[in-house]
């Protein structure tokens, strides 16, 4: 053990291998805030160092966990006391920006917000956006195939990546740093690593695709009095905005009332009596045209009675305040702690029935339980939080059953965007069939035969099959 750590120290330098208190003081789970138990944390400064470190670990059969921004929600970065953490925190450089090709080359430890700002500097935009933007890293976004608030317009992280550089389990480096939009030469290896949650390789650099800037945005918070109207509203906005729809985020009354009136955390722009609230945003190029088109779309929706009330933000400050209600996950956490969190996807038309049935089944057992629902409805993705005052393994098993079983019947996913990590691996079979899981395990066997990379995550324990 010490021999390995000494050898690693020679590669990265004394200051860049942390032990004991320096490791315990960090947490890989921002919900539980439990201390990181890893035997050490290593901070290489570039892919050469990282590759050497990984090669040493491979020789020593040392399991490894990769750390990015640590904002994941499925305990994907949690390390056991016999695991070594490789952190990308010193690999944060934006290496180059190409305004003509519309690409940006970056080290995987760069925070999302830094990349967004770099794109803005050259008059373009990086089209991924989520609430954790100040902390989450590109590497983490790639490993989890992150979603966020712009998926409805621009797709997931996968759609923003042109090329990758990866360190494999044995320390060898595979450079697939393609920067072209079209490259059909052989298998497109990057796709194997995107969304693999650090279990097939460690992403060290990436070439990202940039989009033209859409500097004009318009935002409204609207109330719908029925799910039928809500679906009608989604279709109406898609049509009338002609491709300009940039966000369609829904809050069930359970979420909206809790974060506004009930807790006093935010002033409610609309009263809390409606069953559904939607944050709608349109993106465009011209300020005047975007504003006019948006107002017309919202007004005609109102005339068709698809929405019962609305406020339109008249400044970016008001826009930020509307989004703050939707993005206050910290507040939600505090208000209903301890809670069970779910990130599911299902057909939009099935959602209301599913949520109503879930509420009934939960309240049958815990009459006072809170079931709070919100999410990227336009993408078919809901975030469900359930709280009944305590959290333990027994309750977890029951709750997971209540949430996941009905999903299986309608072909939904147990993880829309958060990934599997540790939390959901034993339910993988609900959303993936045996043939799929068998192929995943074969792939893992080929890429990481010693099972060193993020051991025990994503794939179910062999005993559970």
């Amino acid at each position: 053990m010490d021999a390995l750590l000494d050898a690693i120290e020679k590669v990265v330098g004394e200051k860049n291998i942390l032990r004991d208190e320096d490791v315990r003081s960090r947490s890989a789970d921002w919900i539980t805030r439990e201390p990181c138990l890893a035997l050490a944390l290593v901070r290489p400064v570039n892919v050469d160092q990282l590759s050497q470190v990984m090669a040493l670990c491979y020789e020593a059969d040392q399991p490894v966990v990769t750390h990015g921004g640590l904002t994941g929600l499925v305990r994907g970065a949690v390390a056991a006391s016999n695991e070594l953490v490789i952190s990308l925190e010193r690999m944060t450089e934006i290496e180059s920006v190409d305004p003509v090709g519309g690409t940006l080359t970056v080290q995987a430890g760069a925070p999302l917000q830094v990349v967004q700002e770099a794109a803005e500097q050259i008059g373009m935009q990086f089209a991924l956006d989520l609430g954790a933007r100040g902390s989450c890293t590109i590497g983490g976004n790639i490993a989890t195939n992150a979603g966020g608030i712009r998926v409805i317009r621009y797709g997931m992280m996968r759609d923003q990546v042109l090329g990758l550089e990866v360190v494999l389990a044995d320390g060898s480096v595979v450079s697939s740093m393609n920067n072209m939009l079209k490259n059909n030469a052989g298998y497109d290896l990057k796709h194997m690593f995107i969304g693999s949650e650090g279990t097939l390789g460690i992403v060290t650099r990436a070439v990202l695709k940039l989009q033209p800037q859409q500097s004009a945005s318009q935002t409204a918070l609207v109330a719908c009095d029925s799910f039928e109207n809500l679906i009608g509203l989604l279709q109406h906005m898609r049509q009338t905005l002609g491709g300009g729809l940039g966000a369609f985020e829904v809050m069930w009354r359970s979420y909206y009332a809790l974060l506004t009136e009930e807790s006093g955390r935010h002033n409610p722009p609309l009263d809390t009596s409606s069953p559904f609230y939607v944050l709608i945003e349109s993106l465009g190029n011209d300020q005047g045209e975007t504003a006019q088109r948006f107002e017309q779309a919202i007004t005609s929706a109102f005339e068709k009675e698809l929405l019962s009330d609305a406020v339109i933000a008249s400044s970016d400050a008001q826009r930020d305040r509307l989004w703050a209600i939707r993005e206050d996950i910290e507040g939600l956490s505090e208000l209903i702690a301890p809670r069970f969190v779910f990130d599911i996807s299902l057909s939009i038309v099935d959602m209301n029935t599913y949520v109503n049935a879930l509420e009934v089944s939960v309240r049958n057992i815990w009459p006072d339980a809170k079931v709070v629902v919100f999410g990227h409805l336009g993408d078919g993705n809901l975030h469900v939080s359930i709280s009944m005052g305590e959290v333990n393994e027994e309750i977890r098993i029951i709750i997971e059953d209540l949430v996941y079983k009905p999903l299986q019947a309608i072909g939904g996913s147990i993880s829309a965007e958060h990934g599997i990590g540790i939390k959901k691996k034993n339910h993988l079979n609900i959303s993936r069939n045996p043939g799929e899981i068998a192929l995943m395990m074969k792939l893992k066997e080929v890429m990481d035969p010693k099972d060193l990379l993020n051991r025990g995550k994503v794939l179910p324990d062999k005993t559970n099959l």
Partner: protein, 254 residues
């Protein structure tokens, strides 16, 4: 009582402002414009006074090109009853604005004029005070609280030393500070109604005001880039840098 609120269309507070390459001005092309935040607070205060029955009518005024009608419609959506657009392509200086408003005040005869304390683009903080001087009315600037009682405006002002309370006989001029209120959102039914509320368009000539230019803007520059900090290895190195590079005079204590 009638209240007049004067509002300005400015670059949205959240926009990262860019300077034109010739340093002549700020680049306004396709930039988001909004109601000046302090003017928004002024509109909100007027509406609250109407809601408690103190004001019977709110008239909102703005000076500028056609585009300012957008901000006037927003103000009417928030609750103003009618709007006056004083049309000019020129960027009027504070004194010009004050003179134009004086003419409006003379014909409308309000009991109170509420304005933002300053606009976030020019940061002059002059119009309210000049208007009070030209009309001979009392002024309560930087208001963090306004109460109307028995023909007087009780204004609490935020000043460097704390809070100062004034009693002004009406009619009076009040300018708003940040903590006066939190503006409401414009609701859709009101946005739709506002389209049908009356909007009058006048020119400076209609008001017999000649807009004179006294000030010319020479240059606009971005602030100098902040220098990157450095780390030092020892206290001695720190003292050396402070003394010799940052030129901070260090004295021994005791």
């Amino acid at each position: 009582m009638k209240i007049i609120v004067s509002v300005k269309r400015v670059i949205d507070y959240n926009v990262k402002v860019r300077v034109k390459t010739d340093n002549s001005d700020v680049d306004l092309t396709n930039v988001k414009m909004s109601l000046n935040p302090f003017c928004e607070i002024a509109v909100e205060e007027a509406i609250r006074l109407k809601e408690v029955g103190v004001a019977s009518e709110i008239v909102v005024v703005s000076i500028g090109p056609n585009a300012v009608q957008e901000q006037l419609r927003t103000a009417m959506a928030l609750g103003a009853d009618r709007a006056i657009h004083i049309e000019t392509e020129m960027q009027p200086e504070p004194l010009n604005v004050a003179k134009l408003l004086t003419k409006i005040v003379e014909s409308e005869e309000p009991g109170l004029v509420i304005l933002g304390k300053q606009s976030i683009d020019s940061d002059n903080n002059q119009v309210g005070q000049m208007l009070a001087a030209l009309t001979g009315w009392p002024q309560g600037t930087f208001a963090s609280e306004v109460k109307i009682e028995d023909g007087k405006a009780l204004v609490t002002r935020e000043v460097d030393g704390g809070l100062r309370s004034l009693s002004l006989t009406l009619p009076a001029v009040v300018t708003t500070d940040l903590r006066l209120n939190e503006p409401r959102y414009a609701k859709l039914p009101d946005i739709m109604k506002a389209k049908r509320k009356p909007m009058e368009v006048k020119t400076p000539a209609d008001l017999s005001v000649h807009l004179k230019k006294h000030i010319s803007q020479l240059k606009v520059e971005t602030p100098p880039q902040r220098q990157v900090g450095i780390k030092v290895d020892s206290v001695d190195a720190l003292i050396d840098k402070l003394k010799n590079e940052a030129k901070i005079i260090l004295r021994k204590l005791g």
